[in-house]
Amino acid sequence: MIGFLMNSWVARVIPIGMVLLAVQTTLLVELRPFGVSVQIVLAYVAATGAVGGVDRGAIVGFTVGLMYDLAVGTPLGATAVTMALAGYVAGIGRLFRIESHWWILALQSAVGAAVGEAMVPVVRLVIGEASVSPTGLLTVVGVVTAAALVASPVLAPLGRWSLSLQRSEMKLPPEIRAEV
């Protein structure tokens, strides 16, 4: 049982989540480009979804989102559902490609992070908390998306490692690659 847990993704995702949450709640509350707090945890979830696919992305997003709710004090489940969605959306590209180029993974991560961050005020509104002005939301989503795009080359390998995934060794035959 213990051996299974140690080898499972949970044993890797939770410590990574703790470290990223610590960075999120210390360094990134001070570094605010355009007044926006960069969401490194969300970017990690999106990158993990991009390399792991929709199921793994959603489950990792949900797990890390719960940790985020516990750490920050937001209603339990509110961030979990948005991060699960971010991981899911980022993982959709995985349905069409076995292994993507780094820049495609970055784009997938950015789209996932954008959807996840945009869903935060929607979820808050649904559970009866306050709304956010549309102009502010555009800036927030823009900065968070850009940060996820930039951080993806670092976070995608981290996500791959946390899910114990191997980089695909499938390559296109040279003659087909030349045609492509």
């Binding site: 470290v19 709640t25 001070e30 959603a58 489950i59 209603p75 808050r124 559970i127 908390e129 306050a130």
Partner: protein
């Protein structure tokens, strides 16, 4: 595997239902979740301390880069303000002492009546949608959920979460924040001519409606708005015209980081038109209010007239600069209705 396979659908439905269940339980208040939060906060602390040590040089570099011009300009403006305020401060200090003496003589409560705990800010909200800060004092220092936090300039927010050695303060600008306030306005020809040595008469009118009455809101949450007009009749020896001190009460709500908090009234009355930009806003206190009376909140920055019977709203420029908080004082105040018998 297709995007909408049965297995995948089951995973999504299970996650959505779990979220809904957790949200429902948490929003209704659940001690197990509160304990889990406290435990997780304790578990996260070593990680945060390590991250803080590692990130301090980066933070300093960033601040040096991003804040230098703004701080230099601010410093110049502040020096000019300090010169202008020096004489006013002496008069204000004298007035505060006299005011506290009078309140003590009449056994009336003031902010000085309550103990307080001074705390240092150790963190801000990591989300982009909450205005919260974390302080380094908690339940072992006497802090409880709901207590008001102030600084030298005035009201900062209220405590929303307490751990043994840390607490989270929701700032006044948070959209979830609400507090009962009063607006003091000096009517008449020249407000500057109000001087000590006067007699007053007070008339109180009460509005029958309250915010959300048409949606079935509970009245206790929003006590009836009152409008008090105090006529100040100066002694015969002082040869100045008669002035009025207008006192309105309403509910101040945060509007987010980018917008000023607003005071909403219940309905228009004759006195509303006389509230002007620059009038002062204080907490109103009361048996159910989480803040004691007479904490400075700010000044009226804008008067908004809404159509029909919606009444007026005021935008309030806060006294404290919430973007530059370093220390706050948590007033160990609990409303009478919250105290154990």
């Amino acid at each position: 595997m297709p995007l909408y396979s049965a297995g995948r659908r089951r995973v999504i439905i299970a996650l959505a239902l779990t979220s809904a269940l957790l949200l429902t339980l948490d929003l209704r208040g659940n001690r197990l979740f509160d304990a889990a939060r406290s435990g997780f906060t304790v578990a996260l602390q070593p990680f945060q301390q390590a991250a803080e040590v590692a990130s301090t040089p980066i933070e300093r570099l960033w601040r040096a880069y991003s804040d230098f011009d703004a701080i230099e300009e601010e410093n110049r403006v502040l020096r000019a303000q300090v010169d202008a305020q020096r004489s006013a401060e002496i008069a204000a200090q004298n007035a505060i002492i006299e005011n506290q003496d009078l309140l003590a003589l009449n056994s009336l409560e003031s902010l000085a009546s309550y103990d307080s705990v001074t705390a240092r800010l150790v963190g801000q909200s990591p989300t982009n949608f909450d205005q919260q800060v974390e302080i380094d004092r908690g339940s072992i220092h006497g802090i409880r959920v709901g207590m008001p936090a102030v600084n030298e300039a005035g009201l900062v927010g209220k405590v929303t979460r307490v751990a043994p050695t840390s607490s989270v303060i929701m700032l006044v600008t948070d959209p979830s924040y609400a507090v009962q306030v009063k607006i003091l306005s000096v009517g008449g020809e020249d407000p500057d001519q109000v001087v000590p040595g006067f007699t007053t008469t007070t008339a109180v009118t009460e509005e029958e409606s309250f915010p959300g009455a048409d949606q079935g809101a509970v009245r206790e949450e929003f006590p009836i708005a009152t409008s008090t007009t105090t006529t100040v009749v100066l002694d015969d020896r002082v040869n100045l015209p008669e002035v009025e001190v207008i006192r309105e009460t309403g509910v101040l709500r945060g509007q987010g980081d980018e917008r000023l908090p607003r005071v909403s009234f219940v309905a228009g009355n004759s006195a509303f038109g006389r509230i002007e930009i620059g009038d002062t806003v204080f907490t109103a206190g009361g048996s159910t209010s989480l803040a004691p009376p007479n904490i400075p909140v700010g000044r009226v920055a804008n008067v908004i007239t809404r159509a029909g019977t919606a009444g007026q709203e005021l935008e309030v420029a806060l006294s404290p600069d919430l973007g530059r908080l370093q220390f706050v004082r948590v007033v160990l105040y609990q409303p009478p209705t919250e105290l154990q018998p």
